[in-house]
């Protein structure tokens, strides 16, 4: 695979030398012979890079995207029960910060370039099987206040800003799709009663 790529890279350079753009190759079916000499050292470097890429610690690796259905099953599983019990996912988490008063906002994100880039990641980032999605109502309801019906602030839950925004979006979508039921404010019809009651009387 890598050999093929290096060959193409070399041939594109040749196109530049001949003042031909790579895209004009469709019109001009030129027969360009390339003598590609790539040294073994160069080839080894490519292989090393591959190996280095494979060496991410699995506990930090967040490149793999877990589907929602798996997350929904996880929330009902024994593993989840053992980890979190009956509490909400954010309750055992505690932010680490200097001094008595925590910074106003939580960190921007815990995950950078597919890896967890911080110590003490937020409650959602630390567990890759917790996926914020509008169908994953069991998870979303843990972040909605039972008294107010509003989404809890990041200062309470400890979520990073990116995940908090994803949570807000997921909750908004879930309410729009009707997956989360809430108390709808009462619509007032007094103008209709005034209009029609007068007519009938």
């Amino acid at each position: 695979m890598m050999n093929f790529l290096t060959k193409i890279a070399c041939s594109s350079n040749l196109f530049k030398l001949n003042n031909l753009s790579p895209y004009s190759s469709a019109l001009v079916k030129s027969i360009v012979t390339t003598n590609v000499y790539y040294c073994e050292a160069h080839e080894n470097q490519e292989a090393e890079k591959e190996q280095i890429k494979e060496k991410i610690d699995p506990s930090i690796d967040r490149t793999k995207i877990i589907p929602v259905e798996t997350s929904i099953r996880y929330l009902k599983s024994a593993a989840y029960k053992e980890t979190y019990g009956d509490q909400a996912v954010w309750i055992p988490y505690r932010r680490n910060h200097k001094g008595l008063i925590p910074p106003r906002k939580t960190r921007k994100t815990c995950i950078r370039k597919g890896k967890i880039a911080t110590g003490s990641p937020c409650p959602i980032c630390r567990d890759e099987y917790l996926v914020l999605h509008h169908e994953n109502t069991d998870l979303l309801k843990q972040f909605i206040s039972p008294q107010t019906g509003q989404v809890l602030s990041f200062s309470k839950t400890g979520l990073c800003q990116k995940k908090h925004l994803q949570l807000l979006l997921a909750v908004e979508r879930a309410k729009d799709h009707g997956r989360i039921v809430y108390d709808v404010p009462q619509r007032d019809y007094s103008e209709y009663y005034e209009q029609y009651a007068n007519k009938s009387s």
């Binding site: 206040s145 039972p146 008294q147 107010t148 019906g149 509003q150 729009d176 799709h177 009707g178 039921v181 809430y182 108390d183 709808v184 404010p185 009462q186 619509r187 007032d188 019809y189 007094s190 103008e191 209709y192 009663y193 029609y196 009651a197 007519k199 009938s200 009387s201």
Partner: protein, 364 residues
């Protein structure tokens, strides 16, 4: 030739956009009639526990007050008034006829712009219905805005908090079906009330579909003592399908409501039946005042521990009158005769047993 005509008529029937259960005549003058309003509000019942159930509130402050006995009584009565306000029924109106008129045709403005302009009258204090909203089309025509544009303009300048500009996904087929099966009728109806005006076609489609689903699955209890029960009863009485609701009422010992529902049915369909006598009995047996007094006495700890007898003698006598009335309905107009007869007979047996128990208490 006849076959051809039949085909045309069937095509005409299925070509209408509306649900097959729609209001052919204007239901508004019937709905807002004071007598029918009284019947509907009585049918809805007043379960204070359900109306004032725990809800999510933005402001969760708690206040404590010191009250005299009289003030406490006033507070309780005010709560009951609030409960009645909470049961304000969404009106049942006919589907509107949206035909915007042209005001003028200024051909000179044809090449002014590619886009149409919407002008909204934003003066404070007007009702949305009285606001003039006009559209200048690219061809120079100035006309009244169609209902879609009007609604959008209202929502831009005078927004209703939880109304959205585009169709909420909750009313799309998949989500709607799922919520119906879960039995979230009150939620769906509340959201329909917020999103649509009562004279829109979409509102009628949604509400009638919900009512039919409730009727099919006999889940009337979910809407009892909510603001939607009245319009639902009105819908069933208008379309002559009160039998399932009657079954539910008799089973749950709401005989007075059953009688009122039958009277509503007679009134809406112009059946000449003697309704005044039974309705005077219903009005007399209204026990709201005694309930309020009970609650006040409970709070003031004035209630003595009394043996709870299910029904008083007067109530039992009234029940007998109601049973007669219901029987006459079953004989004449009922569609689900065997089922209703069965439930009525089981009720009669229970009623007789109660009477015997009462006699034993009075004698002993």
């Amino acid at each position: 030739m006849e076959k051809y005509l039949k085909r045309i008529t069937t095509l005409a029937r299925y070509s209408t956009r509306s649900n097959f259960l729609s209001y052919e005549k204007d239901p508004a003058p019937h709905f807002f009639n004071t007598e029918i309003q009284k019947l509907l509000s009585s049918i809805t019942t007043l379960d204070v526990q359900k109306i004032f159930r725990k809800r999510t509130v933005n402001d969760n402050h708690v206040s404590y007050k010191f009250l005299t006995d009289k003030q406490l009584e006033d507070e309780v009565r005010n709560r009951f008034k609030d409960a009645e306000k909470a049961l304000q029924m969404p009106p049942v109106l006919k589907v509107m006829n949206d035909q915007p008129k042209t005001i003028s045709n200024d051909v000179a403005l044809t090449s002014f712009s590619k886009h149409s302009y919407v002008f909204t009258d934003v003066t404070f204090g007007l009702k949305n219905r009285d606001r003039s909203i006009v559209v200048r089309e690219p061809n120079g025509e100035l006309k009244e805005a169609s209902y879609d544009i009007k609604k959008r303009a209202w929502q831009i300048y005078f927004p209703l908090n939880d109304r959205s500009f585009r169709e909420p996904k909750i009313f799309e087929e998949e989500n709607f079906k799922r919520l119906l099966e879960e039995g979230q009728y009150q939620f769906l109806l509340d959201r329909a009330c917020l999103q649509y005006e009562p004279d829109e076609q979409k509102y009628h489609d949604i509400t009638s579909r919900i009512y039919l689903h409730i009727d099919e699955h006999l889940k009337f209890e979910s809407l009892r003592s909510t603001r939607h029960f009245g319009p639902m009863a009105f819908f069933f009485a208008w379309h002559k399908m009160i039998d399932n609701l009657l079954l539910d009422m008799i089973r749950n010992d709401y005989l007075k409501n059953a009688v009122e529902l039958i009277c509503l049915f007679y009134k809406l369909n112009n059946h000449n039946e003697k309704v005044e006598n039974i309705l005077t009995i219903c009005a007399k047996s209204d026990n709201l005042e005694s309930r309020i007094q009970n609650i006040i006495n409970d709070l003031l700890k004035k209630n003595q521990i009394v043996k709870q007898i299910d029904k008083t003698d007067e109530e039992l006598r009234n029940d007998e009158e109601y049973l007669e009335f219901i029987q006459s309905y079953i004989d004449k107009y009922c569609l689900k005769k065997p089922q209703l007869e069965l439930t009525l007979n089981t009720y009669r047996e229970w009623h007789n047993e109660l009477k015997n128990i009462q006699l034993k208490y009075t004698v002993g």
